[in-house]
Symmetry: C2
Subunit: 388 residues, 2 copies
């Protein structure tokens, strides 16, 4: 096991109606002038935004608002948010939405305390400070409600890049599973795919003897595999929504990823896809992951066999472990198909002829991608081709 | 799933040699005058105490020390620690040891900021504040390095009682698995038993549909079951020690216990045992748990069958699930025996004729104990009798 630090100080406020406590929590964490950041009209239409405002007003907390975050959140709105923060002396950002809203909020939180261009942090500048961010989660997927990360697409070149820092961990996150009961099935399935991907980026590692985090990873995957079809069959199934929501958090606050090398090459390959085509992140991951698995499987067949047996319930083929390994990948594909996810370029609307562009935009050059297998530009191209 | 709050802000500093960073971390968390609290001579003999002092001195942090904590920590030393804190204006407590040292440190942290008797908090008074506590863990077991709890035995009557509060979560905890490599096998086994018990107190619940926390619980148990025999066979097996150490933390910081009713009756019944006989907490749990399981099994046979199948790898008997359930309990007993734990009163040195005393000391009266099955005084007596 590798040495590590683990620090997840977010206060999670989980369950029915908990968003009505948001005013109390903002006050407790020192917020006095709040920017409420959100996406489209659903937050307004559902009455959630009003409930949030009522709760803030009850604590005499000043607030202003900025809506309009799109999936694969763009830099344009971030610049606007930063401007508002500086003009209005905002000291607290409240994200009401899913991963895109939270990531956009984290970017604003960075830029609000920085004189330069916030994008510097997404190009590698070390984060030192940010305004406190809190979240009211409406989509279980990104895990951004408990994570250090933020992913933003810059409109200049459609570059999709990430920033990471403990300073970006939300101070509190309200997780009310009821808020996710109105999601279309496609978004629910994309969310499930994203959280499974967060686990798998950690699961496929070269670090030996990490049984505790292996088992936690497997437990999260087993849960998502069991509960997602139930949520799709009945979108109002509170219990399934609740299990999925907590699974999405533990999948990405790193409790299941510490002490081991992590990969993250599939995420980067997906970022190029959703950067170019503006497809849903989860859908892109469903397409990339099987291709990546097939390409790297022989690097450690027994790890893929373990994945097949423990996560997918396959019978171990003791004579030909690689057959078990392949079966695990097939079961992943079948599950993705069963929940309505694409698993090939054509189903996603991506095109084989764009592969050179995808590879070029990644700007990998002589560097390599990932850690399970260190991928060259040529490897990346072949993986995209396997996904066609 | 029940509504819940989850807040685990402890900064975990995990891995080889990490205790040498303790000065930096104390400074980061605002400590300027430190009480180093520890147990017996092993911390001194191993050189750990010196390394800690060197690290504090390097940051020009003032420190004083108080050793002598015993297993099942007593109130006497707590009163002494509180006196030192008040006299010396201590603002930070550093526990160097296992659960007993950490729990004693938490008690001192409570008393140092309170004008009354610290014992009030162990008799139910609400905790409002405490000095910051940090830990350098030397025994994987209690989970106190990441938990809200502290258990102390008052010498007046040998009452063993617990206090709980977010204010008692350590601000940071250093977990270096190497420090546990010199433990005698008996202590290692007691530690494994304790962390398994922490999981099982959460696992056996009446809350339905908590798959995510079920799976996390099972993952922790599977890890401890796999790694403990390896650590016993070769006490210097770093990888097993590391897995066990992180398992002990996640077993008790409540990440695997949120959103569900928890039981904790076995812990209370054990507290009476170790209060009376001063036996190791883990050993007492190994004796109580099988008896409790047998007594309550019929309340939810399928939950015990799930435990048997998922944790112990038993074949499900679909015609007679209760046979599978019983098999799971037997496997737990066999595992305990295999790691050198007692499973009956006689092996522990407890006596059947003391049962009335054990029951009486609990002072249950007309109240009930636990939540999976609400135990009356009569039930408690019968469970002790099953353990004879």
């Amino acid at each position: 096991m590798n040495n590590f630090n683990f620090y997840s100080p977010t206060h999670f406020v989980f369950g029915k109606n908990r968003e009505n406590e948001v005013g109390t929590f903002v006050k407790r964490f020192g917020g006095t002038r709040v920017l409420i950041h959100f996406g489209g009209g659903s937050v307004v239409k559902s009455g959630l935004l009003n409930r949030v405002k009522t709760s803030l007003a009850a604590e005499n907390i000043y607030f202003t608002e900025l809506g309009g975050v799109l999936p694969n959140p763009r830099s344009g709105l971030v610049y606007k948010g930063i401007e508002i923060c500086k003009q209005e002396n905002i000291d607290f950002i409240l994200a009401v939405g899913g991963g895109s809203v939270i990531d956009s909020s984290k970017a604003i939180a960075l830029g609000a305390l920085y004189d330069g261009d916030f994008w510097d942090f997404y190009m590698g500048k070390l984060v030192e400070k940010a305004l406190p961010v809190a979240t009211i989660l409406t989509i279980s997927a990104a895990g951004s409600e408990g994570s250090t990360g933020s992913v933003i697409t810059h409109e200049n070149g459609m570059l999709k890049r990430a920033a990471n820092s403990d300073a970006l961990r939300p101070v509190f996150s309200v997780l009310n599973p009821e808020l996710t009961c109105t999601l279309p099935n496609y978004q629910t399935a994309c969310g499930a795919t994203d959280m499974m991907a967060h686990v798998m980026e950690r699961y496929f590692t070269n670090t030996q003897n990490v049984e505790i985090t292996d088992r936690l990873c497997e437990g999260i995957l087993l849960t998502v595999i069991k509960e997602t079809p139930k949520a799709l069959a009945d979108s109002t199934n509170y219990e399934s929504r609740a299990n999925i929501m907590w699974a999405g958090m533990v999948a990405h606050n790193d409790i299941c990823g510490v002490g081991r090398d992590q990969d993250w090459s599939s995420h980067q390959m997906e970022h190029e896809l959703s950067g170019l085509y503006d497809v849903a992140h989860g859908a892109g991951l469903a397409v990339i992951f099987p291709a990546w698995m097939k390409y790297v499987m022989n690097h450690n067949v027994m790890r893929f066999a373990q994945f097949a047996v423990r996560v997918w319930g396959c019978e171990m083929d003791f004579q030909s472990p690689e057959k078990t390994a392949i079966q695990g990948i097939e079961r992943y594909e079948q599950f993705m198909t069963s929940i309505g996810m694409p698993i090939r370029f054509s189903e996603l609307g991506a095109k084989a002829e764009d592969i050179p562009t995808l590879v070029k935009t990644m700007q990998l050059g002589n560097r390599t991608l990932g850690s399970f297998v260190k991928l060259t530009e040529e490897d990346v191209r072949k993986i995209y081709e396997l996904a066609v």
